[in-house]
């Protein structure tokens, strides 16, 4: 075994421990505050979308429509995927494949209960939709995975995927770009 490879990450442990307490989806539908707007704009700018106007989303039905809109931006998704791959390569060099996958799996397992938060948020909105609950939980889990990659790949603190995770961790759901406008629920 290569002795220079790392075994553990304190920031990753902190992320894992923080997931249960975060107010997942609790702020969805509320007006965006200045701090949230700044975080969202930093997320977009970090992926090269610094000229995109930003809009809030008022309800779950509008959010559901937007994420199925044929005009959704594949470019933003591709930019996130490219950032993920780059961070994965960095993490690979630091931890080795086996340990990196173990650490990422720990975050995936810790993110599984977020589904319960979604069910509560939907319940508050008097919505019963098992599929939408899984969609939202999947989006949050993806953000957790991306933040884990940012930590393990030692990305700078203001990395775009960290900004995205911060929005989720504040109870928001960044929905992506539709017709060049960015939407945060």
């Amino acid at each position: 075994m290569n002795q220079s490879l790392r075994e553990d990450s304190a920031p990753l442990a902190a992320l894992r421990n923080s997931l249960a307490a975060a107010p997942w989806f609790a702020a969805c539908g509320q007006p965006l505050g200045p701090g949230e707007r700044d975080t969202a704009l930093a997320y977009l700018a970090g992926l090269g979308f610094d000229r995109s106007p930003l809009e809030g989303v008022v309800g779950w039905s509008e959010a559901t429509r937007l994420i199925q809109d044929p005009g959704w931006s594949r470019d933003l998704w591709a930019a996130e995927s490219a950032a993920e791959k780059s961070l994965y390569r960095e993490g690979l060099a630091l931890y080795g494949e086996s340990r990196l996958l173990e650490l990422l799996s720990e975050i995936t397992e810790a993110a599984a209960p977020i589904h319960d938060n979604v069910l509560r948020a939907l319940s508050r909105a008097q919505i019963v939709d098992a599929t939408l609950a899984k969609v939202a939980a999947g989006a949050a889990a993806q953000a957790c995975h991306q933040q884990a990659l940012a930590i393990l790949g030692e990305a700078p603190p203001g990395h775009a995927l960290t900004r995205k995770f911060q929005l989720f961790a504040r109870g928001r759901w960044p929905l992506g770009l539709v017709a060049r406008t960015a939407y945060v629920f």
């Binding site: 559901t64 994420i67 199925q68 809109d69 044929p70 959704w72 998704w77 995927s81 799996s105 995936t108 397992e109 993110a111 599984a112 589904h115 098992a130 599929t131 899984k134 969609v135 939202a136 939980a137 999947g138 989006a139 889990a141 993806q142 929905l175 992506g176």
Partner: protein
Amino acid sequence: MTPATITAPVKSVAALMDMPEEYQTAVRKIVRSHAVNELYGAQVYDEPAIALAPNPYLKWLACRIAMEEYGHHVRFRQLGEQIGIPAAEMTPQGKKPLSIFEFPLKSWEEFCVVKLTADLAEILQVEDLMQCTFLPLRNLAKMTMPEEIFHSQFGKDTCTELVKTEEGRKKVQAALDQYFPMMPAFFGKSNSANNELYRRCGIKRHTNEAMRADFMKRVREVVEGHLKLKLPEVAEAA
């Protein structure tokens, strides 16, 4: 039909250790198989499907499904560790996965067909385990069943949407034509020694042949009755 020689419930992992060696072997075999195949299925079908999905709604849904399938692996692996299966034997590197995972996934339509058919087959297997004599395994089957039902329903729902257009109908039919012939082998060989062992131990209730026949009936109802597509002719006896 092989009568079950063990019918009384085995209530715990500790109680398993007092059971005959044959019973312990049967439990370990089936737990290992589920641990390996849940993981491999997530790796070769569910994770790649995220990239293939046509919009964020379906991409994130695919993310969640991949997580759930991986979660099934974790639960079976945890039980496997408790009953003394070496961790290395519960990975695709340590034990060869089922042949249904050899299909190279290339499109969203193929993924939807995989969920429709393979997850329906999985439901049948889990239904059987929900009556097995080893209670920790029975409880695990009960826990995973709602998610397996959702995954199969997801396959049905997405295929139902896809076949609304002529192009989609052709793609789903093509995916069925390519993938479905692999399905009958999922249930194992006819007159299988493993299956006989499972039934003797009360781990399974049905023969591979009976489960395959039940699957063919149920999948035909969905594919031909509901989707109005043609189920490819396959040799049912593996």
